[in-house]
Symmetry: C2
Subunit: 259 residues, 2 copies
């Protein structure tokens, strides 16, 4: 055990190279203030961002962008304190993403399908990605059995899972990122963190760092059954570690954070 498990966990999870401030703020609100009417006071947000080594000026700029450009956050003054909350749009999109981010490991479909389109095109590829399919060959896509294929496509049920399929389906460009995340999460899990020994601010900080690292990868590829990944794919191991760590670090209430 390190003498300061929080500092060790924070050190393992903090990844300045992959920390866009506006994106981290979206993570913070998605994790801590997703319920309707929830808001985070300016001092709590500043303290959280401070724990992540984000300067107040950078937080201010990012908040401005999330308010004016993205219509994601809305802010009100209550006395001298700003109260920030998700807009209807921010909440809707955060809720949609939360289904994937906070899904139980192993809850996805095991069965999969293969879909052949009549012809190949960039638009068709984008449409298929939106439908939850991954490209396997120019006109050929794989998806979980629940994905909805386009009309007129040839829908095929696999009879078995050849050993080479994983290497062709998984998003290879994310494999190294998952390797790196896995290393960070495993180091954190090894610290044996106990929520009881952490302040609400520390717990919230670690939760947001964990969710952020996971969110920026998992939302970039479709949710395919485990069988469609190679043995070296770390995505599912990351999912299991994220889930276990978040259970060890229960979400603090906004009231506790305010105190």
């Amino acid at each position: 055990m390190p003498s300061d498990p929080y500092a060790a966990a924070r050190g393992a999870l903090l990844d300045p190279a992959n920390l866009r401030v506006w994106s981290m703020i979206a993570t913070v609100f998605g994790d801590l203030a997703l319920t309707k009417g929830a808001h985070i006071g300016g001092p709590v947000l500043s303290a959280l961002m401070g724990e992540m080594d984000i300067r107040p000026e950078a937080t201010r700029v990012a908040l401005h962008r999330l308010r004016s450009k993205d219509a994601w956050i809305t802010s009100e003054k209550a006395g001298r304190i700003s109260q920030h909350s998700l807009t209807a749009r921010g909440r809707r999109e955060s809720l949609a993403a939360a289904k994937r981010i906070y899904a139980e490991p192993g809850a996805g479909a095991d069965a999969w399908q293969v879909v052949l389109l009549e012809s190949a095109g960039a638009e068709a590829r984008i449409d298929m990605t939106r439908r939850g399919y991954a490209a396997l060959a120019p006109r050929l896509f794989v998806g979980a059995v629940g994905a909805a294929p386009p009309e007129d496509a040839l829908v095929l049920t696999p009879q078995d899972v050849p050993p080479w399929i994983g290497a062709q389906c998984e998003p290879k460009d994310l494999a190294h990122d998952y390797d790196a995340l896995h290393e960070r999460l495993a180091r954190t899990a090894a610290l044996g963190l106990e929520a009881a020994t952490l302040s609400p601010l520390q717990t919230a900080t670690l939760r947001c760092l964990i969710v952020h690292g996971w969110r920026r990868l998992v939302l970039r590829h479709p949710d395919l059954p485990r069988a469609l990944y190679s043995d070296t794919w770390r995505g599912h191991d990351c999912h299991a570690l994220v889930h276990a760590l978040l259970q060890r670090l229960p979400r603090p209430s906004l009231a506790d954070l305010d105190a």
Copy 2:
């Protein structure tokens, strides 16, 4: 009715542009002398080839090739008459081809499968053709449900038949040849031929012309279910006409032909 239905049928079926003499001799032996021990005497073969406007010299050259190069035909003298018969190899390969040539229309499998190979290559394509598959996309093949896929391939069961699949599976290079054959066969069928009004030599001539035109197309592509062809594909209509015509023109015995 034409005054000479045989001459009209012969005129409809004879296709000098597609008549390789050695290949027609293979058709003749496959249709008339497939049983073990069957042989065709030189005069009968000459008479048959004469009905097809093939000169005796061309028949001699082709017979020589089929004996020495292909080991398909063997010849013996019985008195002054040559007796020709299939070699063991010629009979084996003719028997294998006969399954396809004389198959009942509609007897093939209705169910089909799609097979994805791990990678594409010329050798894999040849192997898949040999196994009875047709190419659909670079690594993707279709076949009847009974075809045996290579080990390690991804075997897929189609859930439906999209309307565009036929145009992608059928051997387009044969479509025009089938159109032309269909036209010849339809003209022949319209003549209302009666075997009783024909000599054994005439019946054998027409049978061999019918089988030959069909054989040179049907053996050049895999036997796929009807659903995998477009509506304009004439292959199955040709099959039905070939079958009906051969039933109207029962195979004469070699003894009748000798007489």
